[in-house]
């Protein structure tokens, strides 16, 4: 292959991000209209109203944060039970040309939690273990619903922050219906058609046998689109988006990276419109973009430098182990940064095979709490938690009770913001500590094995779903601890932010003046970036030192 040209790659990446930014801005406007009921007409409107009649609700029936949380937990609970049952029963259900048997009990538990929580951590190989029915009625349905759940919570949080003197933050069922009907379904449909046109397969055929090989088939394009759009990340095939039937060309690779970023990048603009302060939307977007660009650059540079030990063996060129030659270095870096910056977790390369520092970038992006764009919805509400902490400290520094959008940040909000910001980190520290004390399941010894464990729990606690593949995550401990980490990592921040939204909604807002801290200024953007990096850095400095940093230093030293 031709060696990468950093300048051309930088231009390409800049164009890509420009495209993402423009699309996110416009899409944000559309999403805002969706949730103000501005698109509820025609046939979709009729369907929407039919859904409400069926559920027995209406757009006027809003609830407080407690009611919203209750509905969310009930709905996700039912989703979990349905998927869990489906995985256990798939062997005797139709649409199973591959002849997949029932999931093991713990694996079913882990997989069901994983898909309900938008993590899509996969302890199974899709093509081997899952029937078409499980893929379509189970995983793909949850891909939609878990993403819609995230978007709904985000929108409810936006309402809480921008409304005044009310205890209502929205109707969960209405938000879910609108998320699926007007946002996820149409875009996923269009994306699936686009991907299929580029060579992603879409069929219900039996697996093809060619000589000694069995080539798995399936309804891939439909799942591929929502897997990315909903920042789910669970691949149809074990190889995920590195598989040629999921991601055949450099063009599909860019389309897929674009789809990953679309919803999370659009949500700050939705917020900006809802708050009537587009600058605030841009400021949040800027926080995300700054960290993203830094991570992308770091990842690219680390991979470009490659592994000197391989070079000494007489192999020329950059490190391509675990990467798909058809995507090239920037294609891989873009996809990898996007999938770990968001909580997507789809992969088009084996993160386990990245250089030590290159691998640290996706790991650190996940450890930051999935706020650099983050998951569909969850990225927005989690970064809001960081904003509240940043506002609090900054507000004190200017000598006022801290305010966000004119509302006072007090003890109740602080408690919830702290839960949102710190719970994922606590889970990672807790479970990786236990895992490291247990006899190893790591595929590699030394610092890389430690990175694998930390990556696994980082990925699960933050609902990313990608993995350093070397780890054997099918051990009962990983299945159970992982399920717990995914569930707590998903719902603790979501519920905490709903509670925060509830208490913010009840407050009055004072119009900003020269005495109020501007939360949309470049200085505040920089401060928020610092807070995010500081919280992540201070929490994980020791683990990163013993993992990727130690590995890098050993590699650089020729060991």
């Amino acid at each position: 292959m031709t060696p990468p040209d950093p300048l051309m790659d930088a231009v390409a990446a800049a164009l890509f991000l420009l495209l993402v930014t423009g699309a996110a801005f416009l899409f944000g406007g559309y999403i805002h209209r969706v949730f103000s009921g501005g698109v509820s007409s025609g046939l979709p409107g009729a369907i929407e109203r039919a859904v409400y009649r069926f559920i027995g609700t209406s757009t006027d029936e809003e609830t407080g944060w407690r009611g919203y949380t209750r509905d969310l937990l009930i709905f996700n609970g039912i989703g979990f039970i349905a998927l869990f049952a489906l995985l256990l029963l798939q062997g005797i259900l139709p649409l199973n040309p591959g002849g997949a048997g029932a999931f093991d009990l713990l694996a079913a538990l882990n997989a069901a939690v994983s898909f309900v929580t938008n993590t899509n951590w996969q302890v199974y190989s899709g093509e081997v273990s899952a029937s078409y029915l499980s893929q379509m009625a189970g995983f793909t349905v949850q891909n939609f619903l878990s993403a819609a759940t995230g978007i709904s919570v985000a929108v409810a949080v936006m309402r809480g922050l921008t409304r005044r003197s009310t205890d209502r933050i929205g109707n969960f069922w209405v938000d879910m219906t609108r998320s699926v009907l007007y946002i996820l379904l149409p875009v996923a449909l269009a994306a699936a058609l686009l991907l299929a046109s580029q060579g992603v397969i879409q069929n219900l055929d039996a697996y093809v046998t060619a000589g000694p090989q069995t080539i798995a088939m399936g309804p891939v394009a439909s799942q591929e689109a929502i897997k990315l759009l909903g920042t789910n990340g669970g691949g149809f095939f074990a190889a995920n988006s590195a598989h040629p039937y999921e991601n055949p060309t450099p063009v599909t690779n860019l389309i897929e990276a674009f789809l990953i970023l679309l919803v999370p990048a659009a949500l700050p603009f939705v917020f900006g419109r809802m708050a009537g302060a587009m600058r605030q939307g841009w400021a949040i977007y800027a926080v995300m973009l700054v960290i993203y660009v830094a991570a992308l650059g770091g990842l690219y540079a680390a991979e470009l430098a490659g592994n000197p030990l391989v070079g000494e063996l007489g192999v020329s060129g950059i490190s391509m182990e675990g990467k798909e030659v058809r995507f090239g270095l920037m294609g891989t870096a873009l996809f990898t940064a996007s999938t770990t910056a968001t909580s997507c977790g789809a992969v088009d390369a084996m993160h386990d095979s990245l250089t030590p520092l290159g691998g640290m970038v996706p790991l650190f992006l996940i450890l930051l709490g999935e706020v650099v764009f983050g998951g569909a919805g969850s990225g927005f509400y989690t970064i809001t938690g960081f904003l509240v902490v940043a506002v609090f400290i900054a507000g004190l520094m200017i000598g006022r009770t801290p305010e966000f959008l004119g509302k006072k940040v007090e003890a109740a909000e602080m408690r919830m913001a702290v839960v949102t910001v710190l719970v994922p980190g606590v889970l990672v520290l807790l479970f990786s500590g236990i895992a490291l004390a247990l006899p190893g399941a790591m595929g590699n010894p030394g610092p890389h094995g430690l990175s694998e464990v930390v990556y696994a729990f980082a990925s699960m606690s933050n609902n990313n779903g990608s993995a350093f593949a070397g780890l054997d995550a099918t051990e009962p401990f990983y299945l159970l601890a992982g399920a717990l980490a995914m569930a707590v990592g998903r719902f603790a921040p979501a519920v905490a932010m709903l509670a925060l939204a509830g208490s913010m909604a009840e407050k009055k807002a004072v119009p900003p003046g020269p005495g109020t801290l501007p939360t949309a200024s470049p200085a505040f953007v920089a401060w928020t970036v610092i807070i995010i990096l500081l919280v992540g850095g201070l929490t994980f400095f020791p683990l990163l030192a013993m993992g990727p940093v130690a590995e890098y230093l050993m590699m650089a030293g020729g060991m």
Partner: protein, 688 residues
């Protein structure tokens, strides 16, 4: 003026230092540290490392005694420094409270059956008095409790409360009827109706506040506590996580050993936000103390913090924005009359007028003409009366009058005179320039108008500009007509004004602003201010004010200077700024501490991690010790800042934020790198 102010108690007076040192040791009791969990954890860490050091004596191990011993010493010092800061700030309050308490000793009270000086009296201890009781207080007696003068008038020495030795008049009715328990009647006798329950008097509340006994955590402190505790929890877990991670790494690399407990404890203490946790209690108490030095007593910590948040200031024009009295500044004759005639008439009408306005007219004429005309003998003074609303003099058979335009016009018309056609325009001209026109007449002839002007307090305009810069709107409340009010408002630089204000207008205005979410501060002294004071978020009552006003307020200004509100706002902001700045500094410090301790702790396992030792610290032991010592020393070094507060700067929030972020954020990152390196050099120099 002979004035005793309270700042007599300096921050670092030897006696205070001594008792704070004793207090620091007493506070090592874990039960007393429970209120500060971070320092409690440091103490537990200190106990652990001390036990390890002691075990080293009994069974010599590879770790030795020296390193755990030194870490232990500095961990104990960390706790002691924190305790010292808390003791010192409380000690200053306690010393003040002790002097106040002397005034509170039970005194005999003469309880009356009815409201008459000769009514039968029963002698009871002051502690038995209940609200509603009537007591007689004679000269050289101590007022037994808070109350209101219902009969009589007396000179009262309030030095016990205000530090002001000049006695003040307290009399029944009006705005000067409040008396405070513990003050002394110097002359005359009064009957006082008691208004406070025993133990709830003003003096009691003041003592409780300055002592810190009743100090509850303010909402901002609670929120900050949550953040500090949560960070501490995460750091505890991050440090605990190092043990299995380093054990795994040591096993995998085949060299080194898991990071030991002494290093883990040291790392935890360094990472935990000990700086802010140690100084947090002192910051709030010190803030109240600074207010007290300015003779302001906050009746709750919440009120001071609210002062920092105020968006709107309601200010009475008279006494706050302007000096109480108007001064004559010019003479405007009407068409056909000479200025000299006008001035002569003005002089004669005012010669015997002892009101400040009258005297200012005489003074102005003397200054302008050098004449010293006094009213010839036999002249009679016509004092101002509410009916005629004019004053003047009868002199050599002629009546000289001055007064409000309509009143003088009426008097002249009654004498058969006419009104000059240009008078109305001249009167309006003065009024719309913010002045008060006084029309002067000789007999039945109107000669012209005296220009009386409100005199702004010096520096008030600059203070309002500062306030505007930090986003606080000022609203002037005045009984003047809108024209005059607008002119004074423009001159003083207030943002808005309420003219022809009635007492309940203040209450309505406060409610309106609060409805929009604003925080409102006001000052007041009269009984009719009480409802508005009770409604305002920050309500400052003048100590000279009535009892209802003082009851309704949450801050009392002992000097009765309404401008003090601005000082209170500054102190409120300083308290919050100090907390935020030290929190930022504390967290920013962690970066350098990680770079000191992590390579030192892990270099045995991964020798190549030595490249992270970017400060080039001498040995792993000295690196860890340096970080611990820096962490401990920074507390006493910052005590002065915690006590004096980060100075208030009148800047817009956006500038102030960047300014403080650079000093405390960037400084917080850089300073420990330098500090730890210097301590390490010292340690290495000593050959440890």
């Amino acid at each position: 003026m002979a004035r005793k102010r309270y700042p007599g108690i300096a921050a670092f007076e030897p006696e205070l230092i001594r008792s704070a040192l004793v207090g620091a040791v007493q506070r090592l009791d874990p039960r007393r540290l429970a209120g500060n969990p971070v320092m409690l954890l440091v103490e537990i860490g200190g106990i652990i490392t001390t036990l390890i050091a002691l075990a080293g004596f009994v069974t010599p191990t590879a770790g030795g005694v020296f390193f755990p011993g030194m870490v232990s010493v500095w961990l104990w010092l960390t706790v002691l420094f924190a305790n010292f800061a808390a003791s010192l700030s409380e000690g200053r309050g306690k010393a003040r409270a002790a002097s106040l308490r002397e005034s509170r000793a039970a005194v005999p009270a003469r309880r009356l059956r009815e409201e008459a000086f000769d009514a039968p009296a029963v002698e009871v201890p002051s502690s038995d008095l209940r609200p509603g009781d009537l007591v007689l207080v004679r000269a050289v007696e101590v007022v037994p409790g808070d109350g209101e003068v219902v009969k009589g008038a007396a000179l009262v020495n309030e030095a016990a409360i205000t530090g002001e030795s000049a006695p003040v008049v307290r009399e029944a009715g009006g705005d000067r009827s409040a008396v405070t328990g513990g003050t002394t009647v110097i002359a005359n006798e009064i009957i006082v109706r008691i208004t406070a329950e025993p133990g709830q008097t003003f003096l009691d509340r003041m003592i409780a506040m300055v002592e810190g006994a009743q100090r509850r955590k303010t909402p901002n402190e609670v929120a900050l506590d949550i953040l500090i505790l949560a960070l501490t929890g995460v750091f505890l877990l991050a440090v605990a996580n190092i043990y299995p991670a380093s054990a795994y790494s040591a096993a995998a690399s085949g060299t080194g050993a898991p990071v030991g407990p002494v290093v883990l404890v040291a790392l935890f203490v360094c990472l935990a936000p000990t700086t802010i946790a140690a100084l947090l209690p002192a910051i709030g108490i010190a803030g109240m103390d600074r207010l007290f030095q300015r003779n302001v007593v906050a009746l709750s910590g919440r009120a001071i913090e609210a002062a920092g948040d105020v968006n709107i200031l309601l200010l009475d024009k008279t006494g706050t924005i302007t000096l109480g009295n108007r001064e004559a500044t010019g003479f405007v004759p009407v068409e056909g009359q000479s200025r000299a005639d006008l001035m002569e008439a003005a002089l004669l009408s005012s010669a015997a007028d002892e009101t400040p306005e009258g005297r200012s007219i005489v003074a102005l004429i003397r200054e302008k003409t050098g004449t010293d005309v006094t009213c010839p003998p036999g002249a009679t003074f016509i004092p101002f009366s509410a009916v005629t609303r004019v004053s003047g003099a009868e002199c050599r058979g002629t009546t000289y009058l001055k007064g409000a335009a309509d009143a003088v016009v009426k008097a002249v018309r009654e004498r058969g005179g006419t009104v000059p056609p240009d008078l109305a325009a001249k009167v309006t001209g003065i009024a719309s320039a913010g002045g008060t026109p006084l029309v002067v007449a000789r007999g039945s002839t109107i000669l012209g108008v005296i220009y009386l002007k409100d005199i702004l307090k010096t520096g008030i305009r600059e203070r309002f500009m500062d306030l505007r810069r930090i986003g606080i709107r000022t609203v002037m409340i005045t009984g003047d007509n809108p024209l005059t009010a607008a002119a004074i408002a423009a001159e003083a630089g207030v943002d808005d004004y309420l003219a022809e204000a009635k007492p309940d207008d203040k209450l309505r205005l406060i409610r309106e602003y609060q409805e929009e979410g604003y925080m409102v501060a006001m000052t007041g002294d009269g009984t009719n201010d009480a409802p508005a004071l009770a409604q305002a978020d920050v309500a400052v009552a003048m100590n000279s004010g009535t009892q209802p006003a003082r009851e309704a307020a949450n801050i009392i200004d002992l000097d009765s200077d309404p401008t003090k509100l601005l000082d209170i706002i500054e102190v409120g902001k300083e308290i919050l700024t100090t907390r935020g700045a030290l929190t930022t500094f504390s967290i920013a410090n962690d970066v350098a501490k990680y770079f000191a301790i992590i390579p030192a702790a892990l270099v045995g396992v991964y020798p190549r991690l030595a490249v992270l030792n970017i400060m080039a610290l001498a040995t792993p032991g000295s690196a860890i010790l340096s970080a611990v010592i820096f962490n401990a020393l920074v507390i006493p070094l910052l005590i002065p800042l915690a006590l004096t507060g980060v100075r208030f700067r009148p800047m817009p929030a956006s500038q102030l934020f960047v300014y403080n972020l650079i000093i405390f954020g960037l400084g917080g990152v850089v300073v420990p790198f330098i500090g730890i390196k210097m301590i390490d050099l010292a340690i290495a120099g000593m050959g440890w």
